[in-house]
């Protein structure tokens, strides 16, 4: 699952790199819709795409294309580590500590590009991704993890959310930069 999701983020980003359409603030244009359709078709949960879109709409959020490229490099590296190890499911990833540690390292390096932080609330089981100014990027809680069957506090769940949060942010940013 995680490899699939990571691979999806990579392919989505590559699609964006080839997109040359203009982007009009406050509306969904044709190329943006095409990208979102592509992401949805490849099973990236629409919830994550939606959270990423909410975040980039916020005032003061300004991700550069250079940052997006750096993030993509880390996500690519993580995807390669997972595929080289022959891991296909989140369960396999969870049981392979060595690979998981490396994926966490890449995910955290990607997060550091945008100064993202994870906040753990042990009693509620919520894991929140926030940026340097304290704005919330994504939330993983019992509602979101119920459908995936994951424990919100598990490393795999958190890494996949983080990976997707940064990947879709990078994707949306690159699309904005192409405009």
């Amino acid at each position: 699952m995680i490899k699939k999701l990571l691979a999806v983020s990579v392919s989505a980003v590559m699609m964006l790199a080839m997109s040359v359409s203009a982007f009009a603030a406050g509306s969904v244009n044709a190329s943006e819709q095409k990208i979102l359709d592509e992401l949805n078709a490849k099973n990236v949960p629409a919830r994550y795409v939606s959270q990423a879109k909410n975040y980039v709409e916020k005032d003061g959020v300004d991700i550069t294309e250079a940052q997006a490229n750096e993030i993509i490099a880390h996500i690519d590296a993580a995807a390669k580590i997972v595929s080289d190890a022959g891991i296909k499911t989140a369960g396999e990833l969870k049981n392979n500590k060595e690979v998981l540690d490396k994926v966490v390292a890449e995910a955290s390096a990607a997060a550091k590009v945008l100064n993202l932080t994870l906040t753990f609330n042990y009693t509620t089981g919520d894991v929140t991704v926030t940026d340097a100014s304290g704005k919330t990027v994504a939330v993983v809680n019992s509602k979101t993890t119920k459908t995936t069957g994951a424990d919100s506090m598990s490393t795999v769940a958190v890494v996949s959310v983080l990976g997707l949060a940064v990947a879709t942010l990078a994707a949306v940013t690159k699309k904005n930069a192409e405009a």
């Binding site: 932080t117 994870l118 906040t119 753990f120 609330n121 042990y122 009693t123 509620t124 926030t130």
Partner: protein, 301 residues
């Protein structure tokens, strides 16, 4: 006796090895005393009034659990108490740390809560969507599960197994470092049979280095306070983690300072012995020269 380069190199190497053994000893002792004891956890919990604050959080959450089931917060009147929660919490923590099983006795809570819910249902004339007793039993089980979750410290079993590993390793590491240290001291001593001030100088290098190595981590932590920036909620859990780390850091600081005092004693001894030799050498030198002169005078005479 002139200084030989080979002797100096051997002594410096031995001193460097001794510094490593002393550092490992000091750091291991700091970890064992400051971090890896059950008491270090329980005292941090007490100091931040963890269970008292947990109780309020727990009651809030219980309310949120029963609201969708049609009940109000009154159903918890007289069921849970801070004292009982603290007692259960400590017992549960010790069991997890020692990898034993502690079965919290929940019967009294279940009984009290069930009675309260039935009274509430009667008073509000709530209609049950199914078998009333079964629904109440499920609600009560839900609350009991949450109680167990709340009284357990996160990752306590993992922490307990780490503590046990450290405690198991500690005597071996301690005694082996002690033995190696004795060997290096013996080597330094053997290399300097006549100049004991040099022995203490090399010991001073080792203990000073040990003090520096042991003091750097706590000073770094206290200066940067990086551990206060971890984003952990709720507040009482955060306070407990910070207090636990700070208490451990203080132990490490203390051990580092003791080593530093030892190194000052070594320096003082080295300096004292050096002056003593200089004084003794000067005395002998004068006596030797005056002995030569009186011998010359006698021969001249």
């Amino acid at each position: 006796m002139k200084k030989s380069p080979a002797r100096t190199i051997i002594c410096l190497l031995a001193s460097m090895l001794l510094s490593i053994f002393v550092s490992v000893l000091a750091i291991m002792l700091s970890v064992e005393l400051g971090f890896a004891t059950n008491n270090s956890l329980t005292s941090a919990l007490d100091e931040v009034k963890y269970y008292e604050r947990l109780y309020n959080d727990f009651m809030d959450k219980c309310e949120s659990i029963v609201i969708p089931d049609g009940l109000g917060p009154e159903v918890f009147d007289g069921v849970f108490s801070v004292e009982q929660l603290k007692s259960d919490g400590n017992a549960y923590l010790n069991a997890q740390l020692n990898s034993t099983v502690y079965k919290t006795n929940l019967d009294w809570y279940k009984e009290q809560l069930t009675t309260n819910i039935k009274e509430y249902v009667d008073e509000k004339q709530l209609v049950a969507d199914g078998d009333e007793d079964e629904i109440i039993e499920d609600i009560v089980e839900n609350i009991m599960d949450y109680y167990i979750k709340m009284i357990s410290i996160p990752y306590a079993s993992t922490i307990g197994s780490i503590f046990r590993t450290i405690s198991a390793l500690f005597p071996y590491v301690f005694f082996s470092m002690l033995v190696f240290a004795m060997i290096t001291i013996w080597i330094i001593n053997k290399q300097n049979p006549h100049k004991k001030n040099r022995v203490f100088r090399y010991l001073a290098y080792a203990t000073t280095s040990g003090a520096i190595t042991t003091l750097i981590p706590p000073i770094y932590c206290l200066y940067t306070k990086f551990y206060t920036k971890i984003q952990v909620y709720p507040e009482y859990l955060y306070d407990f983690i910070v207090r636990y780390i700070e208490n451990g850091i203080k132990i490490m600081l203390l051990i580092g300072m003791i080593l530093f005092l030892v190194s000052i004693v070594m320096i003082a001894l080295s300096t004292y012995l050096k002056h003593k030799y200089i004084h003794t050498r000067t005395y002998h030198h004068h006596h030797h020269r005056s002995g030569e002169r009186s011998g010359e005078e006698e021969s001249e005479a």
